[in-house]
Symmetry: D2
Subunit: 298 residues, 4 copies
């Protein structure tokens, strides 16, 4: 049985040193340490396919570079995310920004043309550049036959030096799945084109085949869930009837007792066969904007 | 300024009497009371279109009859839900059950063939009846061109006396939207048919047109969000650039501070124009299985 | 294995009927049902001493009548609570009120002389009547030798028809323990007298002897924790090295992962010997103002 | 309006560099950055008295060294904590340890003599050394007239090189207040002596005078609340009717909606006059074992 060792902060302590110490502390700190270890394992095993489910407005909150670097470093093999994250990533790729706010009055923000995401703001006028992007590139975009292709095409269309999740995935040939793309700004843009009489035919089910194939044929599987929702559920779904995940990290503040998928501890996946009986896994109950930089520092 | 009046329980007190009293108590109790009032208002206004976003495994948790009755009573005009809820509803419609468990060992459950959803179990063998249903009815199902039609067809195929959300919506001509149907058992069934060479062509974006049209053309709008996720986000999305919702009820245990859409207070929607400046709304922070029967009792 | 049975609301359904149905639903609803059953058991067993730990501002939130009725019905044998609850109870007993607010500006409230407790307000001027009460009754109050006696004396001093927890306990000879009375308005009043040169000598440890004796000599023990904090911890402490509690109900929204006593599931008490191995118990994760009227309806 | 800047992890990034970057991110990350800045301000202002309220089992979780270093660096002027933290600190000072566990069976732990605090264990036999300590030092301990003195005496009795909060405070003449000392192992030890006929007379209210004097006479006040409970409430209480705190940091995972003091945002204190209208403050919703090392790194 290992002793708890008090965390000792020293001048100029590195994040990796702190996380190393956290492994020997208690409560959430230890889970950060364990998650860091599990991440290293799943990233270093050559035959381990890593699925990341990314929900929550991580791009507006300044987490995109961490995701970009994980992809550039070939740590993530499959990204499943929300339409919101992709939309905000595209907005930044097109030159717009997100802004800080620490107090707010939503009626006033509305009048001034700002949309609020907790303590982050976006100008409502970003939709103009989005509109232009979809209008100008429609002939290429409308050739996509499924959501993955559509997203990949968006990535391909962005300038080579675009510092975005979309571009980085397209460069690295990492597939992005987004089962509920329709509930996002990108969805709205597609709808806008359709409403104006343009044609596009995106099959709703086609992406399933590929991700299930990947899940069923990968020798080992690692899962990283940031924030639950559809991205987690889509990956979990793919793992059902597979041999189950070998490694798992979940970062969420949702609680188990409500019974929703987002808050369900990874352990629950064992009953479904989505997680291997002998898997190494950890549930980190923490704001992802705090946990991510700790877990993925090296 | 209204006084707090202590809640007085009396022998045989009715739920409606308790909820009436809750309006004059504090903390979450008052919010239950306020939500009940707002529900009555949005249900009674003839020109108010009511959108319900239903996430969380509400059917396995025994909440389906409350939803069914709301629909049968013409209180809900649009239902947006998760593939999980529809799958569990279909499973029950096909004759299978969900079960109670108060303690659990997930490895053992896996061996015994049970899938766990917090303190609710489902036999893994339910997938057989699901398979049969999709196999036998494929010729009718594969004619659907969008997700709404596919779901409606499933509802139509169920026996007339089927006590299910799917059947009740199909009988009452209430559209069910499910943007992320792919991350569910129903999605898996479709995928299974496709994997075996069968054809179906479901457009991913088509449903957007209809729900956005409804949101933009309805004189008044009421929103009821149970549990956040894609259902909430899809409705919120439709309301953007509309005149905004007039009434709102949100029931969730997710917290605002994490920045995700599920925990975002309704107030935040004002900045986006999704909620009217003068809307009547309330955020109920409560397990939906406890809040629903209180709010919707009459 | 018991089936989940969907909750069916009918016209004029009674709270007890709803709670009975909740037992066969899932997630938090079932826990409400289980808690109601456990409460009935611990209340009906003659040789079972029931300890209630009451934290959170339950009196300002309109929950006092439920507590009063439980005491009047001889359901609670020992009450441990916070100084805040006793202070607010005394404030109401002296004729002041609490008020509802649904939106707030704390700076404005401060200027207008209102103190806020989430969505409940109290006039700051209540301290005047409190001052008078302590000033006028000092000769009787200062004879108390421990906190329990001091609280009992306050109860005795209140008019016979006073509808308060303090009076009801004093009438029913139910001891109220309040280990941290100093962090409350009543504490401030005592301090005020001492600061003006008056004398009182309240022993900090004396109450421990009595509650530990009760815990150690009671044949059976039932525990009801509303909101954690010092009240829970003081009872848990008393149970350590006893034979352990036979019945337990915990109502809190705090989570286990933070490691604090308030959010610790009752199960954890088994390792300490505070809860019997074969105890019947349930953790209800719910706003207490919603859970209390459901669990304690009869 | 400041832009959100994505956090960029680089090889060997220091904790202080990460926290600096967090200030320009969103959600909880930004709050960590803000808290770090506010801490620096309140620590560097010469005429600012810093009150720390420390709840939650921070010592068992390996956080004691961070507290010790803050005290040794003269950053904290007043410490208010729980009996549990002091008991666990004393247990370690007497040579015992806490242990890590990642899965548990509470019945088994009970049989093996381990007490569980979420994912931290303590041997039940630690009470023997505690007993000895109180038995052997009773003649010095029983001279204390109030809780502060009793705690200070314990600190004085520990060996000079004892790496403990108790010793560090006694060396640095930092007062420790613990209004609810009775609900802890130390309380049990005192009770044990009293039960065996020994005498001690600790006044319950005496400490109030001193902390209120400090709060009322300090030119500026900074408050740091870790985990709510009685420690927070005791400090808040002292600030009422003072000029209010100038700086505030709160770290908790409790939520505001339940209405309890622990989850109440600092802002609420403005209505009571406990927080200055123009105070600089931040509420960090995070597991304290993760937030503390980030906020207090230098």
């Amino acid at each position: 049985m290992n002793e708890i060792k008090p965390i000792k902060l020293k001048q100029d302590i590195k994040v990796t040193e702190l996380v190393e110490q956290m492994k020997n502390a208690g409560f959430g700190a230890r889970k950060i340490g364990i998650a860091s270890d599990i991440a290293k394992k799943m990233f270093s095993e050559k035959n381990c396919t890593v699925f990341m489910g990314l929900a929550g407005a991580m791009v507006p909150a300044g987490m995109k570079q961490i995701i970009i670097d994980l992809i550039d470093n070939k740590n993530i093999d499959i990204l499943v995310t929300t339409g919101a994250n992709l939309t905000h990533d595209l907005i930044e790729a097109l030159g717009d920004k997100h802004y800080q706010c620490n107090t707010w009055n939503d009626e006033e923000l509305h009048q001034k043309g700002y949309d609020r995401i907790y303590n982050v703001l976006m100008k409502n006028e970003v939709y103009e550049k989005l509109e232009n992007f979809f209008e100008q590139n429609w002939e290429q975009l409308n050739k996509s036959k499924n959501i993955k292709e559509l997203i990949e095409t968006i990535g391909n269309l962005l300038p080579e030096n675009s510092n975005s999740v979309l571009k980085t995935c397209s460069k690295n040939k990492i597939p992005i799945y987004c089962p509920a793309l329709t509930d996002s700004g990108i969805g709205l843009m597609i709808w806008g084109r359709i409403a104006s009489g343009k044609k596009i035919s995106i099959d709703a089910f086609e992406d399933m085949k590929e991700i299930i194939d990947t899940a069923w044929t990968s020798e080992k599987k690692g899962i990283i869930y940031i924030g639950g929702g559809t991205p987690k559920n889509f990956i979990q779904q793919s793992l059902q009837f597979s041999s189950g995940a070998n490694y798992g990290i979940q970062i969420t503040t949702d609680s188990a007792e409500g019974g929703g998928s987002s808050g369900a501890p990874l352990e629950e996946g064992k009953s479904w066969g989505k997680l291997k009986t002998n898997a190494e896994f950890v549930d980190v109950k923490c704001d992802a904007t705090i946990a991510l930089p700790l877990i993925f520092s090296t």
